[in-house]
């Protein structure tokens, strides 16, 4: 129990530290990497809490997600390396206040609630995975299927939103070139 508390504490501190670093660095790539490390530390917390399947899943999912996020950062940010020292934040005092109030409220609930009896032992990893499989394909099947359909719908919706709108019979490449030519003429 002491070793478990130690590792949960260490990985928790790492998750918080990297989480804070996400918003403190000027480099967007570093932000994405800090978020990756924060999520990986959360996954390690799951492992320390003996939820092996969820821990491995969290680390694998977040490594992929954050790698994609880093690519998007480089694509879309005006200053992805942070060399210009741009400040891309607003309403800082309000945000700090809201974050502090939210965290304080959650901490108060954690500290002052009676959580009831605590289980010292967790089922072993193989049993957990087996029972989770039965849970997913039995009582929680509707939830599981709904989650799958939601992801599929989101993928289709995101692709549909990202594809440029094409008018029938119009080549958007030509349209873009014409618009560019018009802008150039207007600027002259």
């Amino acid at each position: 129990m002491v070793a478990q508390a130690f590792f949960v504490g260490v990985f928790g501190l790492a998750a918080i530290g990297f989480g804070v670093a996400v918003f403190r660095t000027a480099s967007m790539v570093r932000s994405a990497l800090a978020l990756l490390f924060s999520q990986a530390a959360v996954g390690c917390m799951f492992l320390a809490m003996q939820a092996e399947f969820l821990g491995v899943l969290q680390i694998m999912m977040m490594a992929t997600e954050m790698s994609i996020m880093a690519i998007f950062m480089v694509m879309f940010m005006m200053d992805p390396g942070g060399l210009g020292g741009m400040d891309m934040s607003h309403q800082k005092r309000f945000s700090i206040g809201a974050g502090a109030i939210a965290a304080t409220t959650a901490i108060s609930v954690a500290l002052f609630s009676d959580w009831g009896p605590i289980f010292a032992e967790a089922p072993d990893a193989a049993m957990q995975t087996r029972e989770l499989g039965f849970e997913m394909l039995d009582r929680s099947m509707l939830i599981f299927e709904t989650a799958a359909i939601t992801i599929l719908t989101a993928m289709i919706a995101a692709t549909a939103v990202a594809i440029p709108v094409r008018q029938p019979g119009v080549d958007t490449g030509k349209l873009d070139k014409e618009n560019g030519d018009k802008e150039q003429e207007a600027s002259k």
Binding site: V8, G19, M28, V42, L54, E65, F119
Partner: protein, 103 residues
Amino acid sequence: MTPVLILALLTGAILFGVGIYGALSQTNLVMIMMGVELILAGALVNLVAFWRFLHPEVYAGQMFVLVVMTVMAVEMAVGFGVAIARFRAKGSVEMEEAGDLQG
């Protein structure tokens, strides 16, 4: 009251607060999404801690974790779709310039 449960809940609470700060203070869409990811990470930590220390025999607790992970994946997919569309239309994903999206 086990200290491990409290440690995990404190971590979740602070991650939630940091995520709220990030989601509210950043002007870039991708950075706002990072804040939301941290909020959901805080929720995940709490869910796993509740399952492990309060009801390890009820596997619906782990299903909750899978549902929140689904929400994280969906948020990323839709967020990046919106980011691409916005960047194509306006050349920027700065939300301070997105007043036209106001309802």
